[in-house]
């Protein structure tokens, strides 16, 4: 099969939410179960229909909690799926894995689920990520966490002039917060942010201030993927996968070769746009992987929305905000809604295309175009080991 043949073959048909933010008295596995069960019900399916389950990523569970393995989740959901997987690290191959199983006929309906319990458990999120670095000779120099690894790349980008630095990033942070202010489920729903607030926030690891960083929260999110054909019989209008791409540059941050060669976003983006047969001019909104504000700027350059050094100008005047010409991160994103890695942007795109976003629904309510096609992306590995791009269209 040709990659292009995948266009419009598969769709996302349901989303499962859980409480999110600081949610004490819960375990990681309980969030998986709730997210999965809700996604299955949301799709109009029964658990017996589910024959594929992919847990987005392994984390060591906070102490006192039993392993949140794919087996445990499947057992407690009462399913015995043909396809079962849990990604050990940060590869972003989930959708190709699901599409592959569906294409093979191994599965008919696949659930993909992310859940974690870092806030209430006090588990040190950054140190848990720290454990999975490979050959990086970091810790003796005091190099920890994702902020610093992305910050290293951002610093270089600012030096070369590719990135406009905080003058671009402030728009990203403030814009996402405005979307969160329209989203009652968003962790930062009740906190507004001005440019002054952005600049006055403390440094974390320079060049990143506090609001350049994504949230850490308890909770889970899941979605169901199936063939477009099967999707037509289900509850909601499907969010059709028009294009999808995956690329793994696989270089560690000390080498930072990623900034000298086409990034995983550029490559996976090209794959996705080729499959979809469209260009960025056809995109109505973006749901980014906004782990760090700089990343969004960099990815938009890679996709071709603007050129190196043009970010600050492009964002000016509320481009990405409610009412702007290119809405970005309409749930509030990882920066202001909730951190479920790539599941956050993807599920928001699905909800927007299904017309279920309430006060933040793209369209007359927010002064935006009603979306037909939304661009989503996902980034994994520290810093950029694995990236995927997904183009969804209204079903």
């Amino acid at each position: 099969m040709n990659l292009k043949d995948l266009k419009d073959r598969y769709a996302i048909v349901g989303v499962g939410y859980t409480p999110q933010g600081r949610v004490p008295g819960r375990t990681t596995i309980s969030f998986h179960l709730e997210a999965c069960a809700n996604a299955i019900r949301d799709a109009g399916l029964r658990k017996e229909d589910i024959d594929g389950l992919i847990l987005y990523r392994y984390f060591p569970t906070p102490s006192g909690e039993f392993h949140a393995s794919a087996y445990q989740v499947a057992h407690r959901l009462g399913i015995t799926p043909n396809g079962l997987s849990q990604e050990a690290d940060c590869c972003r191959s989930h959708i190709f894995k699901a599409m592959g199983w569906l294409e093979m006929g191994l599965c008919k309906y696949v659930v993909i689920s992310y859940a974690d319990n870092p806030l209430s458990s006090g588990a040190d999120f950054l140190i848990r990520m720290n454990d999975i670095w490979s050959d990086m000779h970091h810790v003796m120099y005091g190099h920890f966490g994702a902020t610093s690894m992305f910050g290293m790349m951002a610093q270089r980008d600012v030096h070369t002039g590719r990135s406009c630095g905080p003058e671009a990033w402030k728009h990203i942070a403030v814009g996402l917060r405005k979307w969160a202010n329209l989203n009652p489920a968003a962790m930062m729903h009740e906190h507004t942010m001005t440019f002054d607030d952005y600049f006055n926030a403390r440094w974390v690891v320079e060049p990143f201030r506090l609001y350049d960083n994504c949230l850490i929260n308890d909770g889970g999110r899941a979605y169901v993927i199936t063939s477009l054909e099967r999707a037509r019989d289900l509850k909601h209008r499907p969010a059709v996968i028009m294009g999808h791409g995956l690329a793994n540059p696989s270089f560690d941050d000390a080498q930072l070769k990623r900034l000298e060669r086409p990034s995983g976003i550029k490559l996976s983006g090209e794959m996705a746009f080729n499959m979809a047969g469209i260009t960025i001019n056809d995109i109505d909104a973006c749901e980014p992987y906004d782990c760090f504000s700089w990343g969004v700027e960099s990815d938009l350059i890679d996709f071709g929305f603007f050129g190196p050094g043009e970010g600050a100008g492009w964002f000016q005047g509320g481009t990405t905000e409610p009412g702007g010409r290119m809405p970005i991160g309409t749930s509030g994103g990882l920066l202001s809604e909730a951190y479920y890695m790539g599941v956050t942007p993807l599920t928001e795109a699905v909800m927007q295309l299904m017309g279920r976003c309430g006060d933040r629904q793209l369209g007359p309510k927010t002064g935006n175009k009603e979306p037909e096609i939304i661009l989503c992306w996902d980034k994994g590995g520290l810093p950029h080991g694995s990236m995927s791009t997904t183009i969804l269209r209204k079903g």
Binding site: H137, G142, Q155, R156, H159
Partner: protein
């Protein structure tokens, strides 16, 4: 005062590198087939997949490729040094290594500034290669 920072993880792949550091020598693997000087240490050359490996000594000179400045201490052992600089240094021989920039204030650190290695002897007989700005 006891050294509380994390020590290097020494294993079969990087042992020779850390032994070199003990002698204040920056050593890297050099592929005997294609000549690539590689980092991180590995049994195999990532370019040509040859196992034929020698070691070469680097001059210790390079440029700051990029850096960050820590304002939070993820590990308490680093608290007294805040703010401190972690950098990726591009060595003359090719590899880029992670390290600290020492001997100056964070505000003086910029990308592409030339640097050279200085050695910090720490616990366990280890020595860490760190870098200072060339005046």
């Amino acid at each position: 005062m006891a050294y509380e920072k994390p020590l290097p993880q020494v294993n079969a792949d990087n042992k020779a590198f850390w032994n070199g550091c003990k002698e204040h020598e920056l050593r890297f693997q050099k592929c005997q087939e294609c000549g690539l000087v590689r980092w991180p240490p590995s049994i195999i050359c990532p370019d040509c997949h040859s196992y034929d490996t020698g070691w070469t000594e680097a001059t210790g000179k390079g440029k700051i490729w990029s850096f960050v400045v820590y304002h939070v201490a993820y590990d308490k052992a680093f608290e007294s040094e805040l703010p401190y600089v972690v950098a990726s240094v591009q060595l003359e021989e090719g590899p880029r290594i992670l390290t600290n920039i020492v001997g100056c204030s964070p505000a003086e650190v910029k990308c592409d500034l030339p640097v050279e290695v200085v050695w910090e002897d720490i616990e366990g007989g280890f020595s860490l290669p760190k870098f200072k700005l060339l005046s």
